[in-house]
């Protein structure tokens, strides 16, 4: 199977079914809301939302229908092994072709306009995807694609924090951004936090954080603790599923961090809705392209 066909298949699957780690967190939220909500009016409404989400996923899978009408913008992360001999132009063509075929064959909504301000003319095929290329060790080429819905994308934000703020400043800023989002991004949400770099690097890292298996915490225990502290702060905000006031607002928090300047602590928060749809294809040296 060609690389383009593998990308198409992964995208056709991603728009209909959630990965096991993501689904597991939604089921965890349903259980936690029932146990901890205490029958409060907001919690009862949040439970109805979580039940609807699970029923929706069942119908989507059975009917092979997109789980959400906002099938998103293709946000593509390509990690190219330094020893890979696959030409970048081949990778780019495979991504374009795979995306195009998935849009046609899996009934993606045409949600992309050719420029943001004036005519906003629909490209009618969700092209072009937004692609980041990144060099990594080894010879594999790993292609990861987020189907990024814009109800949640509109709630993302960047803050240039004070370098002396420490973890408290990070927790407070994420809490403010999530509070401002409220019920808009289809909570319960997944939160990606980018820290360090420059303003744009932090934003990039916050999206990369969303790619991680949500069952796995940060490799550094300090950052893992920070992920847990942000999550418990966000749960205390009382936004709940659908913004209706339950005890579970977020499904996970993932941080990606990198070196930064002595004068700054860039922070970016990417919010994803519960429909955290991702496709992943790993190309091994020598396979069909």
């Amino acid at each position: 199977m060609s690389l383009a066909e593998r990308i198409r298949d992964a995208l056709m699957h991603a728009v209909v079914e959630l990965d096991e780690d993501v689904l597991g967190r939604i089921e965890w939220a349903r259980k936690s809301e029932a146990e901890l909500g205490g029958g409060a009016v907001g919690s009862t409404a949040s439970l109805a939302v979580l039940d609807a989400i699970l029923e929706n996923l069942r119908i989507a899978k059975e009917k092979r229908l997109p789980m959400c009408q906002d099938t998103g913008l293709f946000l593509v992360f390509v990690d190219v092994g330094r020893e890979s001999t696959l030409p970048l132009s081949t990778i780019e063509e495979a991504i374009h072709s795979g995306c195009l075929r998935a849009v046609e064959q899996a009934y993606y909504r045409r949600s992309v306009v050719s420029e943001p301000v004036f005519e906003r003319k629909n490209t009618t095929n969700n092209m072009p995807p937004a692609i980041y290329y990144n060099l990594v060790d080894g010879s594999d080429v790993t292609i990861q694609i987020l189907l990024k819905g814009f109800g949640s994308e509109n709630c993302c934000s960047v803050r240039m924090l004070n370098p002396t703020g420490g973890p408290e400043a990070v927790i407070k800023a994420v809490g403010e951004i999530v509070t401002l989002a409220g019920g808009k991004p289809c909570p319960p949400i997944f939160i990606g936090v980018g820290l360090g770099g420059t303003m744009d690097r932090a934003a990039y890292l916050s999206k990369r954080a969303l790619l991680r298996d949500v069952r796995i915490g940060h490799r550094d225990p300090q950052y893992r603790k920070l992920e847990e502290d942000i999550l418990s702060h966000v749960q205390s905000l009382g936004i709940g599923s659908g913004g209706l006031g339950g005890v579970i607002t977020a499904l996970s928090v993932a941080i990606e961090a990198e070196p930064t300047h002595i004068a700054g602590m860039p922070l970016a928060v990417s919010i994803n809705c519960w429909a955290d749809r991702k496709a992943k294809v790993v190309y091994k040296e020598g396979e069909d392209a």
Binding site: T44, N56, L65, P66, R110, G151, G183, G242, G245, C273
Partner: protein, 175 residues
């Protein structure tokens, strides 16, 4: 769960309270960002609108394409807040039911109460679930907008939660 038939009567609306889970059957209009911008422009220029707003139900949504054998694709709600700049004007002109998701501005909240209207929240992201509730789709206007066109749906047992009621009750903490 209480069931209602669209269009809602003033008595139906008065009987709805925040957090109530209800099911709707009947006809409603679908319009989102660009439809609101266009309708708003027509109102400002005193032009005749393609639909009557009196007692109308508007659902903020843009569907994915209908697969073979279905009348519509995934069709869950879009974020209501983007329609906040336009909603008070439409409510003042008679629109009485809005279906969307997420919090509204104070101006919209006040316009809902002032006009004895109601704001209903559909389940966000549940596009496949709502596809089951749609029985018929009729194009109405602005077809050039593709997935953002103004259409009419006939729905059956369409589930929503009352989010802002005509008495001022709300599921959202006030901004």
């Amino acid at each position: 769960m209480r069931k209602f038939t669209l269009p809602l009567t003033p008595n139906d609306i008065a009987a709805m309270h925040a957090y109530d889970q209800v099911k709707l059957s009947g006809k409603l209009y679908v319009g989102r960002d660009q439809v609101h911008r266009l309708l708003f422009g027509m109102i400002e220029r005193n032009e005749e609108l393609p639909i009557s707003l009196k007692g109308a139900t508007i659902y903020y949504m843009g569907p994915s394409p209908a697969p073979k054998g279905m009348v519509i694709g995934a069709c869950g709600p879009t974020t209501s807040a983007r329609m906040d700049p336009f909603a008070p004007t439409l409510l003042d002109r008679g629109m009485s039911v809005i279906i969307g998701k997420g919090p509204r501005s104070t101006a919209v909240h006040d316009a809902i109460v002032r006009n004895k209207a109601v704001y209903l929240q559909a389940f966000g992201g549940c596009g496949a679930l709502y596809a089951e509730a749609v029985k018929r789709v009729t194009p109405v206007a602005f077809s050039e907008l593709g997935p953002e066109a103004l259409i009419e749906l006939e729905v059956e047992d369409f589930p929503v939660i009352v989010a802002i009621d005509s008495h001022g009750g709300s599921v959202f903490s006030r901004p």
